[in-house]
Symmetry: C2
Subunit: 306 residues, 2 copies
């Protein structure tokens, strides 16, 4: 079933211990949609400037991603510059230029309206909510957010959470959102705000799935590992690629059984592990379904008893 994703399509200049890349294609919606495209039909809603040309367009086209919802307007695309020189787990932001994104008004093509799955990537919660409300018929809505929205746009974010079936965020964010440093307690508190499914990403340690917590009962949990990697070239987009693998796999399933969620966690980790092997989206552009399935088997061997 088709996923519509709304979020940033951007240019990133990135420096890591492995080197530097200028203005490579990036943005949460880009990483998400490339990762999800290996599992299901993906449709993007975003805004870009005049610097987004045929070369960038071709990256989406090669994966069969619907870009009719990527609006092109005068000006420059969203631009981010950051480095991971001291710590591969945390980006240091040098520049953020919103550019055309500053006045982004998401428009939903009619052709997207039969999407059953909606992913609200990490953007202003006001925009997330607007897209959510414009697509009332979707069956399942998942979203992401970040510390900036949690701290400074809490009221708007809480409105978004009410309309989410699933939230995918990292350790720091779930604890900040709940105001609680215990992961299990924080997860329960965040699930009380709306989402019945919560995925907490732990970076190089994998991710935890929480489902069905109530005030009285603890959530059912599942832990997926991350692959211990000899070299992380560029962590940018790892979380969005995880989300794409996770949500893409779910959207491809006839039924959302507990087992489908567990396998989705593994596919999320698999796509995240590929994403960091090269700069930007380079690896996700080249990876094959065979490599994805082989790595899924590797993840199983990495964690399973006989």
């Amino acid at each position: 079933m088709a996923i519509t994703v709304v979020g940033s399509v951007a240019f990133d200049s990135i420096e890591t211990p492995a080197g530097r890349r200028e203005r490579c294609l990036g943005g949460a919606a880009t990483h998400f949609s490339l990762a999800a495209s290996f599992f299901t039909e993906v449709r993007v809603i975003a805004v870009v400037g005049e610097d987004f040309g045929p070369e960038q367009e071709a990256v989406f086209n090669a994966r069969g991603i619907d870009t009719r919802g990527i609006e092109r307007i005068a000006g420059k695309s969203f631009f981010w510059e950051g480095s991971y020189l001291e710590n591969l787990n945390e980006a240091k932001t040098h520049t953020t230029e919103l550019n055309v994104f500053a006045a982004f008004e998401p428009k939903i093509p009619d052709a997207y309206r039969d999407s059953h799955f909606l992913f609200l990537a990490n953007i202003d919660p006001v925009l997330q909510r607007r897209v959510r409300e414009a697509m009332p018929d979707v069956r399942l809505v998942a979203g992401d957010t970040m510390n900036y929205w949690i701290k400074d746009h809490r009221a708007a974010l809480l409105e978004v959470l009410k309309g989410l079936d699933m939230l995918l965020i990292n350790d720091t964010e779930v604890k900040m959102l709940a105001g609680n440093n215990n992961l299990v307690q924080a997860a329960r508190a965040v699930m009380a705000l709306g989402p019945n499914t919560l995925v907490v990403k732990h970076g190089e340690y994998g991710a935890t799935l929480f489902q069905g917590a109530t005030a009285e009962t603890t959530a059912r949990t599942f832990r997926a590992p991350a692959l211990p990697l000899e070299e992380v070239v560029d962590p940018t987009g790892a979380g969005d690629s995880f989300a794409g693998g996770f949500f893409g796999y779910l959207a491809s399933q006839p039924e959302l059984t507990p087992e489908a969620f567990r396998r989705a966690m593994f596919y999320g980790s698999v796509m995240g592990s590929f994403a960091v092997e090269r700069f930007g989206t380079e690896r996700l552009q080249q990876v094959t379904r065979k490599e994805i399935d082989d790595r899924f088997i590797l993840f199983r061997e990495l964690t399973h008893l006989a």
Copy 2:
């Protein structure tokens, strides 16, 4: 097969968000031997002072642990005081009194000499080496260490590593020991120093097993989770309890197959998860083999696809 463990038997005063305990029974060899005692015969080598009385002795006796190698001398036992008020993952040490431990000269009872397994808990590497050399017939030697020995007693520690089959340390320690911030690269470098098996403990994120790395090939890896816990009462001894479950299970096996190592990782995580549920050794004193096996099943459900 029997394990001999050498390490500290101590008194700990501990403060955590859950409360405070004065002078409860602690020490690496204590946590280790309690955890391992559920799987195999355990024999302890340590030194204690006059404050170690029948009450402490009874804790070991109740679990059938051989204490003939616990020497009693004039003076006070090793004492540690610490808190985890800001961060449950890292102890803040307030007091360390070596007391009788300052002049510890490990003596190995004749009855221990047929032990097939030896665990060198976290103590001065000079002592670890002495015990290792005094027991040349053991079949398998594992050890632990800490940042203090890595930084300030490196030469002595490197000598110990040469004689180890297995090393169990945490993330920070393996990276410090290797001088490398990438886990996989650090693991390979540390294994080149001696141990063919390396277990890296990640605290609340579980642990990774590395085996059989060479200069050319990457180690085989296996990841065991930690249980997401609603409340961590006292993290003291979690790592030693992990080691006890891990090494104790291995010692109970007829053959050290790859599958035995994987299951040992799970039993390590299981014992660590019990240890933190109460202060000091309280939980390990009360846990039953049935509870251990039930939690093993829970860990499997937490991580396994159908």
